[in-house]
């Protein structure tokens, strides 16, 4: 069989399997030149590893750890219990998390991101984690343009409950506040942006806004009305 350079590389990198692997193996065994190519590939790998391995042992600059801790504080990394506590008693955003972040230098980015990923999901129809936090404490007027959950607007439904339209990469929709928390009234499925892609939420937002028109009683809250509602814990009376 004619063994290409690509196949030799794939063999040396452990990428071949089954029939092809056996054929290439046989060809290599029969041809010292092919074996030399495999050896050269492996030698290069070792040489690269020698060059790059020491880079792993460098001390990590504090600006990175600070960045991660800062990101956590700013975005309120919450565990589930914390999310529940937050719902029960709206707290001053950020305050608690500063102290948490102090101890969180050790928390890994992995953990942080896993927490964020999971917190996007909701169970039993109630917003949780990051979404719940945004619904609780983010005001349309003051929210960061880079916030991962954007609040579109706030209003009251026919029953006088406070509701908020939201939009994020994972999901968009409408949530209304009741005694348990933010009940998801309408969820427009995750815009499954491919990893590394950044897609605008345009169409989902339009859908949310039309859902709001169906639910809303009266007009949307203005900045002051929204702030007062937040300070009152989004309770309807």
């Amino acid at each position: 069989m004619n063994v290409s350079k690509e196949m030799i590389a794939a063999y040396a990198d452990g990428e071949l399997e089954g029939e092809v692997l056996r054929e290439v193996e046989a060809a290599i065994a029969a041809d010292p030149k092919l074996q030399a190519e495999v050896d050269a590939h492996l030698a290069l790998k070792v040489r690269l590893a020698k060059r790059f391995a020491p880079l792993l042992d460098r001390p990590i600059p504090t600006r990175f750890t600070a960045l991660l801790a800062g990101g956590e504080a700013e975005n309120k990394v919450v565990d589930y219990a914390e999310a529940v506590r937050k719902r029960a008693k709206p707290s001053v955003p950020g305050l608690h998390w500063r102290s948490f972040a102090g101890g969180a230098l050790a928390a890994s980015l992995v953990l942080a991101l896993v927490a964020f990923g999971l917190s996007q999901q909701s169970s039993a129809g109630y917003a949780e984690g990051q979404l719940a936090a945004a619904l609780d404490s983010q005001l349309v007027e003051t929210q960061s343009p880079q916030a991962s959950v954007r609040i579109l607007l706030s209003f009251r439904d026919g029953g006088g409950r406070f509701c908020r339209g939201f939009s994020s990469a994972a999901q968009s929709g409408v949530a209304c506040h009741d005694e348990r928390g933010w009940k998801l009234r309408k969820v427009i499925g995750g815009q499954k942006a491919g990893e590394g892609e950044y897609r605008q939420a345009g169409s989902a937002e339009a859908e949310v806004l039309s859902a709001i028109q169906d639910t809303a009683q009266g007009t949307a809250l203005d900045a002051e009305g929204e702030r007062n509602a937040m300070l009152a814990g989004w309770r309807k009376n």
Partner: protein, 153 residues
Amino acid sequence: MALLPRMRRFAAGLARNLTEADDLCQMTIERALRSRAQWQAGTRLDSWMYRIMRNIWIDEGRATTRRMQTFADPDEGVAVGTCGGQEQRAELTDVDRALAKLPDEQREAVLLVMVEGYSYKEAAGIVGCPVGTLNSRLVRGRDALMGLLGEAS
């Protein structure tokens, strides 16, 4: 944070200058934190971060890299290596120089597979090209490196 050392290594391979590499790292972390909602639980976080880094590198890093024209500073190489014998010092810059001469697409293929140890499929996913394309870039990059380093003999 467990990923940081590996991310910095990959950045160093891409950027060829440790200061620039750490800037790249920082931008990657910032962008990852900003767009973490787009990361799908259950998929590999490291691949996702690498993909972000690579995109930033293409968007912003390349122009700077081109301007610098110098490859890894030998002094930095020493600071990096924990044991810095004279011989190893030369070795470091040889590899750096050879890598720096590769076209970007070949260098990233070599780095992802031969240094970071990704499978062809994972590496192709990060780069966003078919597996076959990655395989041939890898081979071309590898052959060029061997030629430059005299490894083939």
